[in-house]
């Protein structure tokens, strides 16, 4: 965006094709508008972008490093590559590492057949995980009257953290620990059921891309998500409807 807040129109190249974009758009937004496929897990339309999952990495001419499309703003004459062997290699490896970190037992998961991690693994052609699984010991928090938190399935995308803070305004969720010890927590690592700040709205459950957050009473493959509310809600708030 220009310094005076005026939005410009840029022309850039994506995979050799000329496209135009508004100066306030991210590379990911422009790619999606023009139907270039870029896998994402932490990104969700309506939430802030944090570039955490690293699946949306693209090549930008003149940049030595790969850049996350979700946090990279467009610029004039930018040349973006969305698909090549190197990107496919890194995306696959990233997804495989996510699988190996926790216990994603798809066949008995509440989100089987409704899971973004599962769909992406198929889309990227992953039929086995080349690194050894860690099989960590994680707890399940079923203390909430309506919802369940299963750390075994969590991919630390932090969509729950952001939707609760940015949209619901309750900020029940946070991330504690670092690296492999990191996990999402409610309030100051108290059981979810005892979290007074939780409004029980269920936004976190509906934006969770995997089976980490689910509604109580759902069995295997029954945890359907409704994240479509988010872009409408944010758009309406912007327009103050």
């Amino acid at each position: 965006m220009a310094a005076n807040g005026q939005i410009k129109i840029f022309t850039l190249k994506i995979d050799g094709k000329d496209v135009s974009a508004r100066s306030d758009q991210t590379v990911l937004q422009v790619c999606r508008e023009n139907e270039f496929f870029i896998p994402t897990l932490c990104h969700l339309e309506g939430l802030s972008n944090i570039g955490a999952c690293r699946l949306c990495m693209v090549e930008v001419a003149g940049q030595r490093k790969l850049l996350p499309a979700c946090t990279t703003m467009v610029s004039e004459a930018m040349e973006v590559t969305t698909t090549n062997d190197k990107l496919a290699h890194y995306r696959k490896m990233t997804l495989e590492l996510i699988f190996s970190e926790r216990n994603h037992t798809c066949s008995v998961c509440v989100s089987n057949n409704h899971c973004e991690l599962q769909f992406l693994s198929q889309k990227l052609g992953i039929n086995h995980i080349r690194v050894p699984y860690r099989f960590p010991k994680f707890a399940v928090d079923a203390s909430h009257p309506y919802f369940i938190l299963d750390h075994n399935r969590c991919i630390l995308c932090t969509r729950c953290v952001r939707v609760c803070d940015e949209i619901e305004g309750a900020h029940v969720w946070d991330v504690s620990g670092r690296g492999i010890q990191a996990k999402v927590i409610t309030e100051l690592n108290q059981p979810w059921g005892s979290a007074d700040t939780c409004t029980q709205c269920g936004k976190c459950v509906n934006v969770c891309p995997v089976g980490a957050l689910s509604e109580k009473g759902r069995s295997v493959a029954e945890n359907t998500k409704r994240s479509g509310f988010l872009p409408y809600l944010t758009a309406r708030r912007k327009e103050k409807i």
């Binding site: 994603h104 052609g125 039929n127 086995h128 699984y133």
Partner: protein
């Protein structure tokens, strides 16, 4: 010459074999092209010296599984990991975060109403500390994910192999399918 085919199960539920049998009459269509030399479905108790394609269901969970899969790999040209247990250790691996002795104790002593003793017999294979996917132990040539993979998927994979092609199953199945 007929292709020598073997199938076996390690730590699984036999569901993948059920799905395999669900190929039904299409099995007859390929029957004159294959010879089933070893399988839970046939009598042969000894794994043959040479097999073209071995289809393995289940994860590697015991010392017995470990010995079996190593032997199979040695005598097999194309090794197929069939189903999620073979590929990602699936449900059998849910014991992995817990020490083996604790699990056995829980099952045979703590929760037993009668005869609460730890099982011990030379015929009982010792459990490994950690249940593993097959490819963590030996190289695997073809992966068919699914719990279980559909009969169509299995048939497609076998038919492709019989025609001398490595099957591409990306659009046909996935983990948990």
């Amino acid at each position: 010459m007929k292709a020598k085919i073997a199938t076996t199960w390690l730590d699984g539920c036999s569901g993948c074999h059920m799905s395999f049998l669900d190929i039904d009459e299409r099995l007859l269509a390929i029957a004159d092209r294959i010879e089933l030399v070893y399988s839970p479905l046939v009598d042969n108790k000894v794994f043959p010296d040479y097999v073209d394609v071995t289809i393995v269901e289940g994860a590697v969970a015991s010392v017995d599984d470990l010995a079996k899969i190593k032997k199979i790999r040695k005598h097999t040209k194309y090794l197929i990991a069939l189903g999620d247990c073979a590929i990602n250790a699936n449900v059998p691996s849910m014991r992995n975060p817990i020490p083996v002795q604790e699990i056995i104790n829980r099952a045979y002593v703590e929760n037993a109403f009668i005869h609460d003793v730890m099982p011990k017999h030379p015929a009982l294979p010792e459990l490994l500390a950690r249940v593993m996917p097959i490819h963590e132990v030996v190289p695997v040539d073809v992966f068919i994910p699914g719990c279980p993979p559909s009969n169509d998927t299995i048939f497609y994979a076998v038919a492709e192999l019989l025609d001398g092609r490595i099957p591409d199953l990306t659009n046909k199945t996935r983990f948990g399918a």
